[in-house]
Amino acid sequence: MRFVHPHSVSYRKCLFSALLIWVIAGVTTQTAIAQSLTDGSIYSRFGLGDRSSFFSSKSQGMGGGGVAFGSINYVNFANPASFGDMIFTRFSAGINYETVTESADNEDSSKLASGYLNAIQFAFPLKPNKFGFGLSFTPFTRVSYRVDSHGTIVSDPEDGTQEPFITSFRGNGGLHKLSAGLGYRIGNSLGIGASADFVFGIIEETQRTTFESIRFVDSHIVKSTRLSGFSATLGIRFSRPRLFGANDAFSVGATFSVPTTLSAHRVFTVGESEAVDTLKTNLKGNVDLPKSIGVGIAYQPNRHWTIVADIFFEEWSAFKSDLAFPGYAPGGAGAFDDRLRFSGGAEFFPSARDQFSGFFRAMTFRLGFYADRSYVSPEPSTKINSIGVTGGISVPTLIPGTRIDMNLDVGRRGTTDNGLIEDRYIRFGVSLNFGERWFIQRKLR
């Protein structure tokens, strides 16, 4: 055993924290400066945006599922039933940085980048390993696209003066989900849970026309839709240790999110400059979100390995809205398809529960894949499918119970058939997972 001088530990903690801040600040600064970090796939324009879920950085490295698994190092927001498994108070926050290369037949490609907050999650046990509470703020849908069209106008037909201009179509925003849930463990095998979900957000579509010449006033037309409403998620999880062997464990879980109605308020503004906007229309209505079901299994053949598989179903064919959205007109029932997502993954934890193992053995490695059939398609005869592989590394830190997770998601979405677009994307996510014993009353000895 090696002893480290306390000052040295403190110094390295500071250095480590500085590194983390640098990375996060680097991404967010680029967001602010380049304005490029809201640029993503054109498919996010349709419906309420690209469906997005973040349950935990662990599940993200394993294909994005995780309805059935449990962990003492992570809170599993895929299933509120898992809140009952908690021993530590946990806080987690993460960001994603993503680049998308879009390509179409006979056209140049477009490279777009975006960065965004992945999730902020907080959970603590009310009674360790029995009853727990979880609070999370995660994305639900994400609208993030940009298409630039270059043109030229004969601005003065009398002298033939031509002026180049760019029409930039942008979308940003999306819906977020603020969830507060409770999980309770009944006996050693069964867990149940429920969460109240507040779904809210703003979806903004902007068409901006900019001219090279300062003699022209740029214009921006913004359609901004604010949505909000409550939903609920119910979860159940059944786990059975020593199913096939002495050290294995098997669990199965399911979640059900009830359908809900969001209230929507749309404002349409037309502006000639950044300062002046003129209200054009103001609409209000309801938007019905469909129910969703998730089912997953997890198997741990031993303490080093975890294997998960999940399937999610969302009944978007029942989507209804008083307001029009890209790909949907009011009264157009069945405009969307049901969403189906299948994912699977594995985690390898070399040290398992050996707390005295070295740094590299204390890391965790994850690999996964997913296939997703989107609920929207600009061309109804062609489904928009995504397939991707994920990987992740979880690094222990000097702070006990705290880990830094890095995930990579490489995938492809869509097709160039029928005038559509194929996206190739890479997502890099960093999450900080902090764990500590809080709110636990010490027993007198």
Partner: protein, 389 residues
């Protein structure tokens, strides 16, 4: 283990960030999947729906010692019979105040001479025939601030007549001894400005209108051993006109007399109401009709005009553009103020409703400008617009 841990974690973070890459290169890929909220920019050409001379008389008054910048800078006097445009008579009014304090010697002395030196800096008409003008005493107080060309002021008794060749230069007028004697005490008092009300300059004979610079024209009042200069403090020109008809294809803009042209466009029409205005340009074309003039006859032309935005109730007028006449005769107005005014008219918000073309007030001349009123070169506005769906 701590140093390798730190380095390894840092390496992972940086590698991940670099692997994803950065940079943004948006193109038109995906444009086929966009439902545009607005069309591409286009240019809309509107001819003037109103383009006519206004009967509003021009501002021809201009105080010297005020902060106002819009006052006239010269006074005109004379009569010209333009064979192409008709007859115009200009009646000038000038008032003075001493430019320096009076010495005791001056106040206690007796005025021996008074000389009026008028600097001619503008001529319109026959420069070969002498022009005779008459000075008349102004019996009462008058003000020139904002006064227009149709102001009526009564003059008193004649003071002196003087003749000169109407060309640029200095005209010296000796004030008669009889008038000096009757005003001897007045011009030696500190409050002479309140007691003396200036002169009217009246046409007597000739065929020209001349302009006298208010800055370079003075009145010298002398007592033995001392002289005090009096400067013009107020000036005003009024006009009476007996015009000949202007050819129908032109609009005559004549400073001083017909110095304003109403201008408006059908900007409130429905198909424009949902447009964003990126740029507004108003084009006017000047004309050079064949107006024969006799030898030695000078008819100066306007070199620039202003564009004025006017409220619906005519209460507010604000200059929003200045246009120089280019070598090809084109006058163009284009700036942000014009674009904002047009955008507000299109959306039927704000106070501006129409425009005026006016000659610069500060010049105070009888300069002329002919503007094309019909055909391809009629007054027009070019709007670069985006139609919002």
């Amino acid at each position: 283990m701590n140093t390798p841990r730190f380095r390894f974690t840092a390496l992972l973070l940086i590698s991940g960030y670099l692997l994803v890459g950065c940079g943004d290169d948006p193109t038109n890929v995906g444009i086929g999947l966009i439902d545009v909220q607005a069309e591409e920019p286009e240019v809309v050409r509107l001819e003037a729906s109103t383009f006519a001379s206004s009967l509003d008389p021009d501002v021809t008054g201009g105080p010297l010692f005020t902060d106002e910048e819009s006052g006239a800078s010269r006074v005109l006097a004379g009569r010209v019979d333009d064979p192409a445009l008709g007859s115009i008579t200009a009646l000038g009014y000038i008032d003075f105040v001493q430019s320096s304090s009076m010495s005791d010697d001056f106040k206690n002395g007796t005025i021996s001479s008074m000389e009026l030196r008028l600097e001619t800096d503008y001529v319109y008409g026959d420069t070969l025939t002498p022009l005779t003008l008459r000075l008349l005493d102004m019996p009462g107080d008058w003000t020139s601030t904002g006064a227009r060309a149709n102001t009526v002021l009564n003059a008193g008794s004649p003071v002196v007549e003087f003749s000169f060749l109407p060309v640029p230069g200095t005209v010296s007028i000796d004030i008669p001894a009889s008038w000096i004697a009757s005003n001897n005490a007045t011009f030696r008092r500190d409050d002479v400005g309140e007691l003396f009300h200036g002169f009217q300059i009246q046409f007597v004979d000739g065929n020209a209108v001349v302009g006298f610079s208010h800055l370079q024209s003075i009145m010298r009042v002398a007592v033995p051993g001392d002289t005090v200069n009096f400067q013009i403090t107020e000036l005003l020109t009024t006009f009476s006109k007996d015009p000949l008809p202007t050819p129908s294809e032109y609009i005559l803009l004549q400073d001083g007399s017909d110095a304003t042209v109403d201008l408006s466009f059908e900007l409130t029409r429905e198909d424009l109401s949902d447009n964003v205005i990126h740029r507004s340009v108003i084009h006017l074309n000047t004309a050079a009709p064949d107006l024969t003039t006799p030898s030695g006859f000078v008819r100066p032309s306007l070199a620039s005009v202003f564009l004025i935005a006017i409220t619906g109730d005519d209460d507010h007028r604000v200059p929003i553009g200045f246009g120089l006449i280019e070598s090809d005769g084109l006058i163009s107005f284009e700036n942000e103020s014009l674009n904002n005014a047009v955008q507000n008219i299109v959306k039927d918000i704000g106070e501006w409703k129409r425009f005026e073309i006016v000659a610069p007030v500060s010049e105070n001349s009888l300069d002329v400008l002919f503007l094309q009123r019909s055909g391809e070169t009629a007054p027009r506005i070019l709007l670069t617009v985006t139609s919002v769906n």
